[in-house]
């Protein structure tokens, strides 16, 4: 078996779960692949991983992977993840959300998860649109873009997920794209491995709902757009301001090593609970 087939057999749920719900050309499958390669690369046991997902296309990823998986209510994935992590800090808790999920209905939970630095990895699959409900605008839909609920162009400004999460105090903030897969694998692995709250914004385009209304008719159009728009952060910062227009920096945007909330809580508990003196191993008495 090839390496890829082996990974598929090991990590995906075969009973009843395929074919998946994603449209041909959807970026979410690439994210799913990246997630699995990252978990595999980090050598994590399946039982030590808990995937928490919200509602929408991205939320369906949870059903396909053979981990402990929780498909929650719309916008609330991070709240469930917070409870799971506080209850069992040994688990690697990964929350998968869409842009609407994480930053519209769940915006409050996201900034608070970042602020309290809970040890959860958040993967936000940003496609600028509500895909599953039929293509309405989200908090990241660019100004001027057409959607089902902005037929005359989006008038509102959109959130910059990286700026917002960084300002809220997350330990790690990253942005990747499904076109730049090797880099995405590295970003996702780093985010899973590190302490505290880490967020990866992943540009994962929806040509079905977003593209066809905004001059990217096919998946290929969307991927070539990604190819030309996303530039490495270092390169982006070296560019002249006028060249930065229409470019999107990807890479690492914040990296701190502060202890996660669950670690601080464990320290508090240790200081408050009198610990029974443990017998020294191998003392022979």
């Amino acid at each position: 078996m090839s390496d890829v087939t082996e990974l598929i057999h090991h990590y995906l749920r075969h009973n009843k779960k395929f074919p998946h719900v994603f449209c041909a050309g959807c970026g979410h499958g690439i994210v799913l692949g990246s997630l699995i390669r990252s978990i595999h690369g980090l050598g994590l046991e399946k039982d030590d991983v808990c995937i928490v997902a919200g509602i929408g296309c991205s939320g369906r990823i949870a059903a396909y992977v053979d981990f402990n998986t929780v498909h929650t209510t719309h916008g609330r994935a991070l709240t469930f993840a917070t409870g799971i992590k506080m209850a069992n800090p040994k688990l690697k808790v990964i929350a998968i959300m869409g842009d609407g999920d994480a930053f519209s209905i769940g915006g409050n939970h996201l900034i608070h998860a970042a602020r309290r630095n809970i040890g959860v990895t958040a993967l936000v699959l940003n496609n600028y649109i509500y895909g599953m409900t039929g293509g309405q605008c989200s908090a990241t839909t660019p100004q001027g873009a057409n959607t089902q609920t902005t037929p005359f162009g989006q008038m509102e400004k959109s959130f910059d997920l990286v700026d917002l999460t960084r300002a809220a105090g997350a330990n790690g903030v990253y942005r990747g794209s499904v076109f730049h897969v090797n880099m995405l694998d590295r970003l996702v692995s780093t985010a899973i491995e590190r302490p505290g709250f880490n967020l990866v914004e992943i540009i994962s385009p929806c040509h079905t709902q977003y593209g066809r209304k905004n001059k990217y008719k096919t998946a290929v159009d969307m991927y070539s757009w990604l190819k030309h728009t996303c530039v490495k952060r270092e390169k982006y910062e070296a560019m002249k301001p006028e060249d930065r227009k229409d470019k999107l920096p990807i890479g690492t945007f914040a990296e701190h090593d502060t202890k996660g909330l669950e670690e601080l809580y464990a320290d508090l508990r240790t200081s408050l609970c009198p610990q029974p003196t443990e017998a020294v191993e191998g003392s022979g008495k």
Binding site: D47, A62, R76, T79, F80, N88, Y265, L272
Partner: protein
């Protein structure tokens, strides 16, 4: 009943809210997530101080009530006995996640210390306005267990009961307390945990590859392993099959929904908790719950002194509605009085069961004031 003479017993001069915490800790609660709201906040404050002192205890103040119940569900899935407490407006925010917990059969306890409403209403005044919200607040068809407590000791005991039911039937349980009970300070004896029967959710006995997370069993309740224990499965609020995966097959939907109802329905006798006081020969019945039941208790004594044959049926379980007890009382009495601090949320249930056999009269109060014993006595004495 608890044996108060046990050596681990301690005496407390406690608020109802503090007694809730005692009960929760006795029941084995190790996780609390919440958001402050009057008149429930003392529950949260005491939890914040107590939980970090016990092994594996965890407390977290979330950003709102939606987040609180989300975290509680997460912790319960991870194997903890978990609870939150709130009041009317916060309870409203929890309703969507409450539906999720019903659907995914997550054991947890929500304490709702009721205040006057609607809206922000009367934050520091008593009411019983959330009775039907507790039953029907969330979306879709689902059974639920709703309990109430009428004094400080009962706050402790009913919290333990709430955890027991939650674990036994894999369901969210709601405990309704009114502001009077929550903020009354009384002396109670808190026995050690050995004085109570404590239930824990069942753990699968089969190997992980045989485990079906939503399998139909004799009791209708399937075993529940904590996340991370090797029994990897999918939890979703979508209608799911026995393996936990989303389904749209009518047969699978039907069997899931029927099992959800059956697991509560078939244990009515276990779940329906009431207390009867001088009802053996009663001709006038009073049905009350919460702090109103205490007023009613005194009113019965006042009435008996004056020669009225009155008796009290105190409801400790509000839903599933204890219809057999109400029916029995209705057959015995020429008239039933239901005093409550709302416009008739439980009397509606009483009428549904009793109005064919006897007349049902209500006493309703929604001005933020308590229903006094004399008010109930007056209704008893006015034939």
């Amino acid at each position: 009943m608890p044996n108060h003479k046990k050596k681990n017993a301690k005496a407390l001069f406690a608020l109802g809210n503090e007694a809730v915490v005692e009960g929760a800790l006795i029941a084995g609660c190790t996780f609390y997530a919440g958001y402050p709201i009057t008149p429930s906040s003392e529950i949260m404050e005491v939890m914040a101080a107590r939980l970090p002192r016990i092994p594996d205890g965890a407390f977290i103040q979330m950003e709102d009530e939606i987040a609180s119940l989300g975290a509680v569900i997460g912790a319960s899935l991870a194997g903890r006995k978990a609870m939150t407490a709130t009041s009317g407006p916060g309870f409203s925010l929890m309703q969507e996640n409450l539906g999720f917990a019903c659907m995914t059969e997550v054991p947890l306890v929500i304490v709702n210390v009721m205040r006057g409403g609607p809206s922000t209403g009367l934050p520091t005044s008593p009411a019983q306005g959330d009775v039907q919200q507790a039953r029907w607040g969330t979306h879709g068809d689902h059974p639920i267990i709703v309990l109430s407590a009428s004094d400080v000791k009962e706050c402790m005991e009913m919290t333990i009961q709430a955890f027991n039911f939650a674990e036994k039937y894999r369901t969210p349980v709601i405990l309704l307390i009114d502001e009077i009970t929550a903020h009354t300070r009384e002396r109670i004896d808190v026995p050690g945990p050995e004085a109570f029967e404590i239930f824990n959710r069942s753990y699968p006995s089969v190997p992980p590859e045989w485990y079906k997370p939503y399998e139909d069993t004799m009791r209708g309740v399937s075993p529940m392993p904590p996340i991370g224990s090797g029994y990897r499965h999918h939890v979703t609020g979508l209608t799911h099959d026995v393996m936990g995966f989303p389904t749209q097959q009518p047969e699978e939907i039907k069997s899931l929904m029927e099992r959800l109802f059956r697991k509560i329905d078939q244990f009515f006798p276990d779940i329906m908790l009431v207390e009867e006081y001088r009802t053996e020969d009663a001709e006038i019945g009073v049905i009350a719950y919460g702090s109103v039941a205490r007023s009613a208790h005194l009113a019965i004594d006042m009435a008996r002194e004056q020669g009225y044959k009155a008796g009290l049926l105190k409801l400790k379980t509000l839903f599933p509605f204890p219809k057999t007890y109400v029916d029995k009382l209705a057959h015995r009495c020429s008239r039933i009085i239901v005093p409550e601090m709302n416009m008739g949320q439980m009397s509606r249930e009483v009428k549904r069961v009793a109005s064919k056999t006897t007349s049902v009269r209500t006493i309703n109060r929604i001005d933020g004031q308590i229903i006094t014993p004399s008010q109930i006595y007056k209704s008893i004495s006015q034939g």
